[in-house]
Subunit: 189 residues, 2 copies
Amino acid sequence: MKQETRKEEIIKTAARLFKEKGYSAVTMRDLAKAMGIKAASLYNHINSKQEILKEIIISLAEEFTRGISIIKSSEKPCIEKLNEIVALHVSIASKNTYGMASLNNDWMHLEEQLPYYLELRTNYENEFRNILKEGIKKNEIIDSDVEVLLFSILSTLRSLYLWIPKKEDLNSEELTSHLSSILINGINK
Amino acid sequence: MKQETRKEEIIKTAARLFKEKGYSAVTMRDLAKAMGIKAASLYNHINSKQEILKEIIISLAEEFTRGISIIKSSEKPCIEKLNEIVALHVSIASKNTYGMASLNNDWMHLEEQLPYYLELRTNYENEFRNILKEGIKKNEIIDSDVEVLLFSILSTLRSLYLWIPKKEDLNSEELTSHLSSILINGINK
DNA sequence: CAATCAAACTAACAAGTGTTAGTTAAATAT
DNA sequence: ATATTTAACTAACACTTGTTAGTTTGATTG
């Protein structure tokens, strides 16, 4: 059994609180209370509030980077790559809905790690954009403004963390295939 | 010429700061500095920090409520109603990209007004859902899970405020029609 | 000219902030 | 049994927070 260290418990609890109120509105005393200890005791396990945010965000951002790098280097058709991107987002967001909130809303409170985070995000968007461009060139997807395509799809995928907890009945495979179908084929009959 | 009151200036500046760092991370001293005055002077014009947030969020939420209520009561086909919803979001988000950030990310910091805000939001989502259900019943749109449809479209529309500032070249009509086309017809060729 | 008003100011407050230092008690390893 | 480690504690710090009270200044109005 993979047992959690105390530090991991703290980070997980913090992520949950950060999702509810945002990083800045959560105090170390709030976090301590949620853990059933005093604020000062947190510092036996973590070095700073900042560090908690860093751990949450950077590990997720790197997970996305690894994911898209694998998808990118396959030789499948573009539509299938898109399918895999949807699956990647569903999978990561399902495992960690709390952390995804920080990734989306609290990244600006990173300090030393902010440039690194921005690099990862830009890189991710570029890989995504390249897949779309390739799809357009190979006549697999419509020749619409790439930025609007990218924005539209990515917005939906980035919001998954908000909806997954409300739809626990839907399993990951179903959600992925429904979503892919809507994003690729639209809602028109 | 419609001249702005000092209070409106403060609210506008606050919205800009709230978009950059979130409500909780912006202090009254930050806001005062951005206005070129001292923090205490803000209180000649506003009653509290809370009140600023309320003004930003509630006015926007009511604007959406008014908008969808007009769209709902028309006799047009469902696909056209969707088109009008897209136009509504593009229009409001274009006029007030800063405020939209608070509406999306800082609503949980409302206090007395939180129940009212939640009521407006639930109502909006219900109206939207009804339009989708009607479209499915009348065979205008695919018979997919309504919640996934709603989530997918709404996520894109709610993120518009993040993208509009980066795409100043695209005018509202173009953006609306591109977006409608992608949401309705998908990206498949 | 005197009075009013809008909008800034200084000074201060009580409460809350992240964090450090030093201590204690129980569990684990030698 | 002794030593070490883990993980909690109390007390306190320097600073920041939203906000209030009272004052000053310059423009507008009677």
